[in-house]
């Protein structure tokens, strides 16, 4: 197929990889956006979810937030933020949009994980005289860890996808290669960009999956 070989030659042209519009620079932007926003989202969502889950309050909020997140188009939020005064401050509108869409899966999974901890175990911990804080850190958190890590993985994949879309609203990242390809009416560049994004997303997914498995294995060995 012609497009395939054209795409291949696009990908193997050294000039496309270097410079401010090159793949390496865009990949760096994408990685930076994903990592920073994942960190911010975890710092916002996890403490809230852990405390709510520990107290057993706010369940409706934690669960409904995911549904709301699904109904609101990412693209619309990106553009809306871009048109607000925040949009004039460089990357901030992109970062806020990314965080908004990474928080729901983190919050929901961590909350559900905390609530699914066996109530008998929690009661036993209380019976042993553990304080609320000890129970949270020593009992509930380790048992909820698999679900929390699943939430982190989903959020990371979501961040990669949203960061790609940010290119439509003038943000950086690998999505820029795709949008530039559309503007140039260059199908090989569009497809090459799409392949890079897809491979990146799948890499992030499998990396987090491996990390998750490793963390749980360690935890089981320690127990």
């Amino acid at each position: 197929m012609n497009t395939l070989s054209d795409t291949w030659s696009w990908l193997t042209t050294a000039a496309h990889w270097s410079g401010p519009d090159g793949v390496w620079h865009r990949l760096g932007e994408h990685l930076f956006l994903t990592a920073v926003c994942l960190l911010i989202s975890c710092l916002i969502a996890l403490p809230v979810a852990l405390v709510l889950g520990h107290l057993g309050k706010g369940g409706a909020l934690a669960v409904n937030l995911s549904n709301v997140g699904r109904a609101v188009p990412t693209f619309a939020v990106l553009v809306l933020l871009l048109l607000t005064p925040i949009g004039t401050h460089g990357q901030w509108s992109t970062i806020i949009a990314l965080v908004l869409f990474a928080v729901p899966p983190l919050l929901t999974n961590a909350y559900v994980g905390m609530r699914e901890v066996d109530r008998d175990v929690v009661r036993a911990a209380r019976g042993m005289g553990m304080t609320g804080r000890q129970m949270l850190v020593g009992v509930e958190l380790p048992l909820a860890l698999p679900m929390i890590l699943t939430g982190v993985r989903i959020a990371a994949v979501q961040l990669v996808a949203t960061a790609t879309l940010a290119a439509l609203a003038g943000g950086g990242g690998l999505g820029r290669i795709i949008t530039a390809g559309f503007n140039l009416a260059s199908t090989p560049q569009v497809v090459a960009g799409a392949i890079l994004v897809a491979v990146f997303a799948l890499l992030v997914e499998s990396l987090f999956e491996a990390g998750q498995r490793l963390a749980l294995q360690r935890g089981r060995e320690a127990a």
């Binding site: 197929m1 497009t3 549904n67 699904r70 109904a71 609101v72 188009p73 990412t74 693209f75 619309a76 939020v77 553009v79 809306l80 871009l82 048109l83 994949v157 990669v160 996808a161 790609t164 879309l165 290119a167 439509l168 609203a169 999505g175 795709i178 949008t179 390809g181 559309f182 199908t187 569009v190 497809v191 960009g193 799409a194 392949i195 994004v197 897809a198 997303a201 799948l202 997914e205």
Partner: protein, 225 residues
């Protein structure tokens, strides 16, 4: 020379009644295109998902590859998915529908399969004991029992599709997404906000409609609730 009118359009306000009345045709067209794209893609996905889920349950070896493939498809970001389909479909509505079908497929296959697997073995044996053949067992016992899980998948798939249609704007077939995209380029606040709100309203309406349909289709679950 006449002075420019001093209305909310000229002031570029977020909420603007004049926008709604003067652009009614455009808005209706965009909503209709949005609905068409959503309904077409979810319907096609459903037609493919049911046999796939049945096959994955019937032949155990098929379940792994089917689930793995759909998971990989789901991980690919939407913009990349549409772009990957560009050589096959060009700048067409078919491209957007094909992309959305691939996403919906994942959610539907997983949920239908989970629903079918959750049918208790005793129920199946009882039906067989009453002389039900394989086809009647499937249509009269297994599919109805799998329906609540399948409907949950259908709801998630539909709501996601409504939101993902907007990305079709990159190829000019994005329903309300087209208005958001052009509104972004011209810094037209009222257009972006109106189109975004309409998008969310469509998603909420679809969710409620499918919830209602699910309740009508599974009257036996209502008594428990």
């Amino acid at each position: 020379m006449t002075a420019p009118p001093d209305d909310c359009l000229a002031r570029n306000e977020w909420i603007c009644g004049a926008y709604l009345s003067s652009r009614r045709e455009i808005l209706i067209d965009a909503v209709l295109q949005h609905l068409q794209l959503t309904v077409a893609s979810v319907a096609i996905a459903l037609l493919i998902a049911v046999p796939l889920a049945l096959a994955a349950r019937r032949w155990r070896w098929a379940a792994g590859p089917v689930l793995a493939t759909t998971t990989v498809l789901y991980t690919i970001p939407s913009l990349a998915m549409f772009s990957l389909l560009l050589p096959l479909y060009g700048l067409s509505a078919a491209l957007v529908i094909a992309g959305l079908v691939l996403y919906s497929l994942t959610l539907l296959v997983r949920n239908i399969l989970a629903g079918l697997r959750a049918v208790p073995e005793e129920t199946r044996q009882a039906a067989r004991g009453m002389g039900y053949g394989p086809l009647r067992l499937l249509l009269a016992v297994e599919l109805p029992l799998a329906l609540p899980a399948a409907m949950a998948g259908l709801r998630i798939a539909t709501v996601s599709a409504v939101s993902l249609v907007t990305i079709g704007a990159i190829v000019g077939h994005g329903g309300l997404g087209n208005l958001i995209y052009s509104g972004m380029n011209t810094y037209f606040k009222a257009q972006v906000l109106t189109a975004s709100v309409l998008c969310v309203l469509i998603a909420v309406a679809a969710e409620l409609l499918l919830l209602g349909a699910g309740r009508l289709l599974t009257p036996w679950t209502r008594r428990q609730a």
